[in-house]
Assembly symmetry: C2
Amino acid sequence: MSGEAVKIRLYLEQPLGAGQGLDLSRDHAHYLFNVMRLGPGATVAVFNGQDGAWLAEVAEAGKRGGTLLCRHQIAPQRDPPDLWLVFAPIKKARTDFIVEKAAEMGAARILPVQTEFTNSDRIRQDRLQAHAVEAAEQCGGTFVPVVENLQPLSRLLANWPDGRALIWADEGLADAAEPCALPPAPAALLIGPEGGFSPSERDRLRKRPAIHPIALGPRILRADTAAVAALTLWQSTQGDWL
Amino acid sequence: MSGEAVKIRLYLEQPLGAGQGLDLSRDHAHYLFNVMRLGPGATVAVFNGQDGAWLAEVAEAGKRGGTLLCRHQIAPQRDPPDLWLVFAPIKKARTDFIVEKAAEMGAARILPVQTEFTNSDRIRQDRLQAHAVEAAEQCGGTFVPVVENLQPLSRLLANWPDGRALIWADEGLADAAEPCALPPAPAALLIGPEGGFSPSERDRLRKRPAIHPIALGPRILRADTAAVAALTLWQSTQGDWL
């Protein structure tokens, strides 16, 4: 809402500032000059996850690259609240979806974990990170959450930082917290795989000190739905939707 | 949570009751006997959207059909609150997703509408209805929301029922209601297309009597994300998640 109707938004891993020249990758050049048919003088918005959003002008349009010239800042840097999304990867399309939604909804860090009922023993971290970038470009944000590599849930929990609340969405929790009683940042949301958590995982989770079980209604939600629902509950009561 | 570990759930458009015989379609017979390899005596759960969930036993397994015998009720009928989801269809996969999520999250009725910025002038209502059935089978529910045919938003609003609140999720609403101040049932959530609503649509919506604008955070959400987020907010404050 900066007054300038810039539709194209690009995430670049380069410093941004007035008068700064920006080198374009082959992919970005192809997108801007072949797909979108921009020529010299056309403007786009750029951000790097740190310096806010900037208006940039096409200075040089080549077949395999090009240059933008950074003009002025059009939006300040805006980081999301300190909320992690911890989830067990599921089928490819739905895992992609979870990462896209987490970036759109303002998670600060995305941590895929292996649980006992998780089928996948690897993820394509680079592909998931690219989804997070694309979602940030789409949603008008200036921040891109980091997608971590897959790690066992047990290891993540063993190294859990002091003071970070763990909000655990599981089915059939009798002692679940009210949505309005969610803990503030720093916090993390934990979403299980399609089959839920194993009995021993649930046992161990239940015994943790800073654990906050939540219930997400009377129906069994898919993991991707549960992720969006949990992000909504936290953002609307403790996060930056207020 | 009925004590019986029945994994397969089928939606059938037939009356259910103790001792009732149930004819299987060719598709259901293929799924049960070829894909899932069930034989006579195996049990599945069945529901019809009205009579709760029942345990049924395979009585006859054929190549092109078969029969189940309805044993006893394993869950009472549970209808969702009187909440409609009104949305503008977007790309195919994301429209499918919205219908799946609406059924999972407990919308009672799903109404696709044409808005000024909606590209599609038709939907495959039968395919979307099948997605709602599949989501109900998956999520353990006993209710299947009806997916209506596509209609212009203006016509839906002209015939809007008295007393049904319209909760309008739009971007950049200055006078948006607090999420906790959402109106109770009967209610409807209205989600726009990717490009949002047109200025004249927004004008007309704003002048309606029972309209409740809501904001969904500082980032621009995709239509499918907005649908899940709005369903979460309503269900967790006014619906059956309480």
